[in-house]
Assembly symmetry: C2
Homo-oligomer: 146 residues x 2
Amino acid sequence: MLSIGKLSETAGVKVPTIRYYEQIGLLPAAGRSLGNQRLYSPEAGHRLAFIRHARDLGFPLEAIRDLLGMSDQPDQPCAAVDGIARAQLLAVEGRIVRLMALKSELERMIAQCAGGSVADCRVIECLGSHAHCTTDHGRELAEVSE
Amino acid sequence: MLSIGKLSETAGVKVPTIRYYEQIGLLPAAGRSLGNQRLYSPEAGHRLAFIRHARDLGFPLEAIRDLLGMSDQPDQPCAAVDGIARAQLLAVEGRIVRLMALKSELERMIAQCAGGSVADCRVIECLGSHAHCTTDHGRELAEVSE
DNA sequence: ATAATTTCTCTAGCAACTAGAGGTTCAAGA
DNA sequence: TCTTGAACCTCTAGTTGCTAGAGAAATTAT
């Protein structure tokens, strides 16, 4: 049996995150020691590794919740699993397309900057009016937010 | 002078979002009518359009706050403006690289799925262990979160 | 004049954690 | 055995950029 700290180390998931996953029901409530500290079996480690890997691949927690539910029922057909993965792929692809548009817009904007004063800065000017843009980037381009 | 609803329409920014921008100090507090409703000058419209466009290009609000501050001082050199834009470009490029890695990983995973039952689903298996991955995607790949 | 729409403020919620306060339990050294 | 220090516990609140809702007041249209 592992303490939460050991589990955290081996799975590469921070301690508060593990507790958070338990809180939202993504991990089952762990057993406790006599002093009320969480104890984990190796299986819990596998489940957590699964979650971490899926998170690394960008799956939202709700999708992961579904995937975990499915992996607990090995006799079902895996079409639904496939569907979730395909949805994630589509989301990633869409995101790449939008980011490429952003990238070229930013590059164009920066290239025009002559390095003078703010008064005639192309970057400010371009941001001020969409009319300077070549691509027709819409609302949904954004969300780059680190 | 425009009501908040008209401003919202012309700038393409939702009404609660405008109030939110005022709340966090990104827009100055608007003047009010006798009945305490917000009234906006066309200049406020320009400022809002600037914000919207920068958001569309993925700039975080804090960066936009800085950009607005700079555009209010037209005599300063524009190097700092340029810096923010370049930082944003770098962020976007980094994001694209990571997403491409995700994309190929997801594609590989999906391609292996033979469509059987969950018990021998490649997607589940691949998620279960990082060992199946070709690319060495790390923590920082994620954050696709729509 | 009345009805419908818009606006007001305020609070709470979303994802997916992270940080901190204030208190307990565990493992190791003296 | 005692003591110290690390790791653990619960709970609340903060992050980003909004969005949704309640309940009330103001404006606009008929």
